[in-house]
């Protein structure tokens, strides 16, 4: 299939010289899109499980409440939560952690402001927990009116639909890039056919079937497709690793970082080994598309020759 000998000097055609570059560029874009789709897919799955695994309970206090009364109320809330079926554990966030959560909105000195801050309790749920959230909400209100259970559903749903959109876009982009590659191959193959028309005619008259001629074009497309594809995929892999590294050092969204306001919503952009495997297959899949397209183009065009 990768026959080095060819009766047609296809490699000398100007169009064919650009082919590995074009394919490399296309595969680079496709690999980025596929990589993005897979990262987004993982994020969605992570965030989805974050949605079911965690709650935050917010307990507001009025200005005039005493320290002892406040801590008694919180104990009551924590007792209630711990007794609720499905709850695996609770963590009362201390002032420092709350300050960290508020920092983006209120600045570094949030706790020193004269604003009564609510108490925040992170609740971890068991994996199979089926929680009656409405009941919990009523029970909480009985202890302290204004207490609120937040399962992050609203904004995770927004985030997830954003991710779904991103994934759809990446998939669409991959399809478009592969289609553009196929169209390029059709163009290059047709150009090759007309440049070498006289040679093809001789080879035909000598008794070569169309498949013999198609074989030379498809071998070229396969070879150039693999070369361009591997280069494009390697560059895309470097770009993906670079992007992940960049997010790493800009902090804030450290991979695996557990943001307590939205526990489980890690921004882990790493690809799993099997996902790298999928990327590794991309140049070969592209080369295969190129080969099949070249063969189809030649057979279709030669049907019109004598």
């Amino acid at each position: 299939m990768l026959g080095l000998r060819s009766d047609l000097p296809l490699d000398r055609d100007a169009a064919a010289k650009f082919l590995p570059w074009i394919i490399g560029f296309m595969v680079y874009l496709a690999a980025l899109a596929v990589g993005t789709a897979m990262v987004v897919d993982r994020l969605s799955a992570n965030w989805q499980s974050g949605l079911t695994g965690n709650l935050t309970v917010e307990v507001p206090f009025t200005d005039d409440i005493g320290v002892a009364e406040r801590s008694a109320l919180l104990d009551q809330v924590i007792d209630l939560l711990s007794a609720t079926p499905g709850v695996a554990g609770t963590t009362l966030l201390d002032d420092r952690e709350i300050a960290r959560l508020l920092e983006p909105w209120l600045g570094a000195e949030a706790t020193e402001l004269d604003i009564p801050l609510p108490a925040m309790i992170a609740v971890n749920l068991r994996e199979d927990a089926v929680l009656d959230q409405a009941q919990l909400q009523r029970d909480l209100n009985a202890i302290q009116p204004g207490a609120r259970v937040d399962d992050h559903a609203a904004w995770i749903a927004d985030a997830l639909s954003f991710l779904r959109g991103l994934k759809l876009l990446a998939t669409l982009l991959t399809g478009l890039v592969l289609a553009a590659t196929a169209i390029t191959i059709v163009f290059v193959t047709r150009t090759g056919l007309s440049i070498h028309r006289s040679v093809i005619e001789i080879v035909h008259l000598i008794g070569a079937p169309d498949a013999y001629i198609a074989q030379q074009f498809q071998a070229q497309s396969l070879r150039l497709g693999i070369i361009g594809g591997i280069v494009g995929t390697l560059l895309a892999a470097a770009t993906l690793l670079g992007a992940e590294h960049l997010l790493h050092i800009t902090g804030g969204m450290a991979p695996g970082g557990d943001d307590l306001a939205a526990p489980g919503l890690s921004l882990d952009l790493q690809l799993l080994p099997w996902q790298w495997g999928v990327l590794g297959l991309l140049p070969f899949a592209t080369a295969l598309i190129a080969m099949v397209t070249a063969r189809w183009t030649v057979l279709r065009s030669l049907a019109r020759f004598i």
Partner: protein, 234 residues
Amino acid sequence: MQYGAGPQILKDISFTLAPGSFHFLVGRSGAGKSSLLKLMYLGLRPTSGLVNLFGRDVATLEPRDYPSIRRRVGVVFQDFRLIEHLSALDNVALPLRVAGVREADIKRHCSELLSWVGLAEHLNALPATLSGGQQQRVAIARAVIARPNLLLADEPTGNVDDVIGLRLMYLFEELNKLGTTVVVATHNDALVSRFTHRQLRLEQSSVRIFDPAGVSQPASPYAMPKGATTGGGA
């Protein structure tokens, strides 16, 4: 036979070539020698009339049937039609490669044949670096390498001196003795007269078979349709 709206050529001709026969195809320039050969190697389809090749009516052939028939026909084109970027050896190898012969055998057979036609020193030469006569011998080697059933040669001795011309004719005769039907189109009367082969004479609206050993006779349109046959058409 008619090209586009041009005048009709090869009108009302009819003849049969017996398998294993040897014919010269003679006639004025423009009489249609090359067109007649084209009809016989499926380079043209007749606009009307019947062409029968190896017992098959060309009109009923599908394009996918062409390759197997063309592989049984070796052609020496008047303008050689060598592939410019391939060496002499690779040009000669083409029919064998198309037929799927093993590469080791291809190399051996092709270099033997090229040596036989005096091109042992030029196996790897590109056609452009060869003289007209050398190119012609490459073209002939390519036409005969796969031992075709029918050999069609269009002015095969046009560019070579008499000695080489005769040598090539002997090559054709050798092939003929092995069973190949041979048609050599030429207007070299001197060459034709040195041999006793029958002549297909293309004249204005007929083809006559001239047998130097016997009497001239009109070709019979009812001859046995074995081997390569071409029946006349308008």
